[in-house]
């Protein structure tokens, strides 16, 4: 498997989701699917930003509408710290709203996945991110 090939420096991933059930489910599934990756999870944007500062994860999977700090706002702050961070956004409406909002703030969103989330879609996005990170290394 590809993850096994690039094992010398594990890729780290941050999951930000305010809905507990969803976060727990995603966390369980992703750790099962990608056992070699390092995972952190946060309940909102602010916690996510703090965790990012500590662990500098390569990939951030985040919800958009969250109390205290939304996903786009958090992405803006993270990209200021580490511009090549990969973002996978999970949202109810993946259309113009998100891209306009993020474009206005100079935020480049790599992948946007519409809720309810399809695993195939999510895994494809993660695989793509992992591929890009491997090329950069």
């Amino acid at each position: 498997m590809e993850s096994m090939i690039m094992a010398k420096q594990p890729v780290s991933m941050l999951l930000v989701e305010d809905e507990n059930t969803n976060r727990e489910l995603l966390y369980t599934i992703l750790t099962k699917k990608y056992p070699d990756l390092l995972f952190q999870a946060a309940i909102n944007g602010r916690t996510g930003l703090e965790l990012f500062k500590t662990h500098q994860p390569d990939i951030v999977i985040t919800d958009v509408n969250m109390p205290e700090m939304g996903g786009v706002q958090m992405a803006e702050r993270i990209l200021a710290i580490k511009p090549n961070t990969k973002f996978i956004v999970l949202t109810g409406d993946c259309g113009k709203n998100i891209s306009q909002d993020s474009a206005a703030k100079g935020v480049e969103i790599d992948h946007c996945i519409t809720k309810p989330v399809s695993f195939a879609e999510l895994f494809a996005a993660i695989e793509q991110c992992l591929g890009e990170i491997a090329q950069q290394n």
């Binding site: 809905e19 059930t21 969803n22 489910l25 995603l26 369980t28 599934i29 099962k32 699917k33 509408n65 109390p67 205290e68 999970l90 109810g92 809720k115 309810p116 989330v117 399809s118 695993f119």
Partner: protein, 754 residues
């Protein structure tokens, strides 16, 4: 005093006396010499003698002598000192015999006191009096005396002027006689006309003027008075009396210029002057028209009486003959005979009654104040008319009796008149009545009402008609006025009616327009309601989407992890049960969410009682997710829990609306620590729910517009502009409450009172 002394004194007196008389004599001589004395009287054995003197006053003397008045100077005792020839002539006494006599002796005894009084007063005043004097020949002379006292040659004398009034008197008498004659002519009960020898009228009495109807004077008599003498069928000419013929009590007919006929009695005689020459004539005319009419009427009535009498006579004779016949036929019928005799007597009495009634009828007929006429039904010719009818028609009775009733009927009314009369003429009807017009003799048109009866003979055949004719011109005129008034009134009513119907039409049009406007308004309102409902629906769908998004996502994740776990070999019965349980929980949650929304949207058609806190809680459960997402803090302060009576769902819709607005504005303005405070309390019997935010309030310039339809502060995608309008309608119109908005210290506050 001695005797000698007395003599001496006597002598001195005598001397003085003598000296005075000498002076008098000298003065007299001087006066005579200077012409101051006209005459003097010398007393002699034959009595006093007057000697008149010629002197310086000769011209005055001539004047006195030649003037046409008698003049005299009288001594104080009234004797004539001097007089002129005119007085002598006036008194028919020679001058010489007049001088020295008493003038009073020529005054009539009746006037003597006045004469004496006048003389006595002449010293005080000069005045005149009219008296009568007797001449020497014994004639009475009416004179005017005027006397004045004067001091002449030291003697008091009286100057007198006597004017002969005889001629003047005669003139006056002539004038009086003339006046008398004139007044006699004027007051005479007949027309008196005086013509000159040429037959021209030179004098005419007032009656003559009236008779002729125009000014007669200086016009030829024969032209003005064409007089026909019916007796001789000839024409009277004024030349007859002018040729010394006398006419007395000649009946003539005078046809005046207006065709009116008068019956007159004529007297005519020549006028002769002193030389017995014919200088003119006098014609007198007495109007006997009325009398003539009366006579005619009387004659007619007599004729009729005669006829009736004869008829009765014949009847009675017949009866008599019958009676005799019966008597001759049978003695047994004696009783019947008696009866017949009695009948006969009765008929006699009836005859008497008939006579009397005919007299009464004639009197009544003539004196009636309405016109009466009898006519021959076959020809319509009048056979008898009364005076009133002649006044109504202007035709005389004679004229009318030569005419038919059709003749005097107005041409336009004739056909109608004849139609109405036809049944009477033919005898099928007994009476008729008509209102029609007469053309009077003078051409004027009057309205009359004719009501008549048909009189039949013994065989029932039409004999004659008897009609009453009333002048109803005034009534007709009044009717005309009334009709005109009615027409005017009808026209006005028609105009008014037209105006009213026009108004009604206008009103109908206006009403239709109003109905249309109301209809349009209602449609508009319905559209608003629809839009509001759609907007609310949209809000709700948004809320449902939001409410479902998370559980759907969770469900998706749960379902998808099952094959993953299976592949990893970690799918146990336990983990499977857990996933199914979790999924069912999510499905139930979503199902209840749908129920909530469905209940919220089902229109509550009936008013019910519900708790304010319950309604607030239910509404909040629908929106709290979205509020939580925006970190908007919702605080509910329930001071009381009032009961509201009304449409629960609609009330909740209003709450939802206001809450959504608050959420939107808080999000839009990115208010720090956004907060919504809901306060529930009651004021009196009213429930109050106040929803306040801390978004800074409503701009003052739109505060009074927010409840207007289609007013929105949101963008085209976000707001329809009907939310608050519908909210106000629900609270105020449907539930009789109040919905108001105001700005508090840090935001807007909406207050719902029901």
């Amino acid at each position: 005093m001695t005797t000698a002394d007395r003599f001496r004194e006597d002598f001195l007196t005598e001397i003085e006396d003598l000296r005075q008389r000498l002076e008098e004599s000298q003065e007299t001589l001087r006066a005579i010499g200077s012409g101051e004395v006209d005459a003097f009287v010398v007393s002699g054995p034959e009595g006093e003698q007057v000697f008149t003197l010629t002197g310086a006053e000769y011209p005055y003397r001539v004047l006195v002598e030649t003037m046409n008045e008698g003049a005299a100077t009288l001594a104080a005792d009234g004797s004539i000192l001097y007089c002129n020839n005119r007085l002598s002539a006036m008194l028919q006494v020679p001058l010489e015999r007049l001088i020295g006599t008493q003038l009073s002796s020529y005054v009539t005894p009746a006037d003597l006191p006045l004469f004496e009084a006048r003389l006595g007063k002449c010293t005080e005043e000069c005045d005149k009096d009219e008296i009568t004097m007797i001449t020497g020949a014994g004639n009475a002379v009416s004179v005017m005396i005027s006397c004045c006292a004067a001091e002449i040659s030291g003697n008091r004398e009286i100057g007198m002027v006597i004017t002969d009034l005889t001629q003047q008197k005669r003139n006056e008498e002539t004038m009086a006689a003339e006046k008398l004659a004139r007044s006699i002519i004027e007051q005479a009960g007949e027309a008196i006309i005086v013509c000159d020898e040429g037959g021209r009228i030179i004098r005419a009495s007032r009656l003559a003027h009236e008779l002729c109807g125009e000014n007669l004077l200086l016009k030829p008599f024969n032209e003005l008075f064409p007089l026909r003498i019916p007796e001789t069928e000839s024409q009277f000419s004024v030349l007859a009396p002018l040729n010394d013929a006398r006419l007395e009590s000649v009946e003539v007919e005078f046809k005046r210029s207006d065709d009116q006929i008068y019956h007159l009695i004529l007297n005519a005689a020549p006028l002769k002057c002193v030389q017995n020459r014919i200088s003119g004539c006098v014609v007198s005319l007495t109007d006997i028209t009325e009398r003539k009419k009366a006579e005619d009427a009387l004659r007619q009535s007599e004729d009729r009486l005669q006829a009736a009498n004869e008829e009765l006579q014949a009847q009675s004779e017949e009866l008599q003959s019958q009676s005799e016949e019966i008597q001759a036929q049978s003695e047994e019928l004696q009783a019947q005979n008696h009866e017949l005799t009695r009948l006969w007597e009765e008929s006699k009495r009836a005859e008497e009654i008939l006579r009397a009634s005919e007299r009464d009828y004639a009197a009544m007929f003539e004196s009636a104040i309405v016109g009466k006429a009898q006519a021959d039904p076959a020809t319509g010719r009048f056979t008898r008319v009364n005076r009133t009818l002649t006044e109504i028609t202007g035709y005389s009775a004679e004229e009318l009796c030569r005419m038919t009733f059709v003749d005097i009927t107005h041409p336009d009314d004739r056909q109608r008149d004849l139609q109405g009369f036809e049944p009477v003429r033919s005898g099928t009807a007994g009476s008729w009545q008509i209102e029609k017009r007469y053309t009077r003799k003078d051409g004027s048109i009057i309205w009359v009402e004719v009501a008549g009866n048909l009189l039949r003979d013994g065989n029932g055949r039409p004999l004659r008609t008897s009609a009453v004719i009333q002048d109803i011109t005034e009534r007709k005129q009044a009717e005309e006025v009334l009709r005109n008034l009615n027409e005017i009134l009808e026209k006005q009513v028609a105009i008014r009616t037209a105006e009213l119907s026009a108004n009604i039409e206008k009103l109908q049009v206006e009403t239709a327009e109003r109905i249309q406007a109301v209809e349009a308004l209602r449609k508009n309102e319905q559209m608003l309601i629809l839009q509001s409902r759609q907007a609310a629906m949209g809000e709700m769908i948004g809320n449902i989407a939001h409410q479902w998004r998370q559980p759907l996502n969770t469900l998706a994740l749960t379902v998808q992890q099952l094959p993953l776990f299976h592949d990893l070999g970690e799918l146990t019965r336990e983990s499977l049960n857990k996933s199914v349980l979790q999924s069912m929980g999510l499905i139930k949650h979503m199902s209840s969410t749908i129920d909530d929304f469905r209940n919220f949207f089902s229109p509550g058609k009936e008013k019910i009682e519900f708790k304010a806190t319950g309604s607030v809680a239910n509404t909040l459960s629908l929106v709290e997710d979205s509020f939580n997402k925006q970190n908007i803090d919702i605080q509910v302060i329930a001071k009381k829990d009032p009961t509201i009576y009304g449409f629960q769902n609609e009330y909740a819709q209003v709450l939802l609306n206001i809450l959504n607005n608050a959420r939107d504005v808080l999000t839009e303005r990115e208010t720090a620590d956004p907060r919504v405070t809901i306060t529930i309390c009651s004021e009196g019997e009213r429930s109050v729910v106040a929803i306040a935010d801390n978004a800074g309030g409503i701009p003052a310039d739109i505060l009074d517009k927010i409840f207007e339809p289609y007013f929105t502060t949101k963008g085209p995608q976000a707001g329809t502009g009907v939310g608050l309008f519908m909210s106000k309608t629900i609270i105020e119109k449907n539930m009789g409450g109040r919905l108001t908005a105001r700005n508090s210290a840090d935001g807007a506050e909406f207050r719902i009172e029901v």
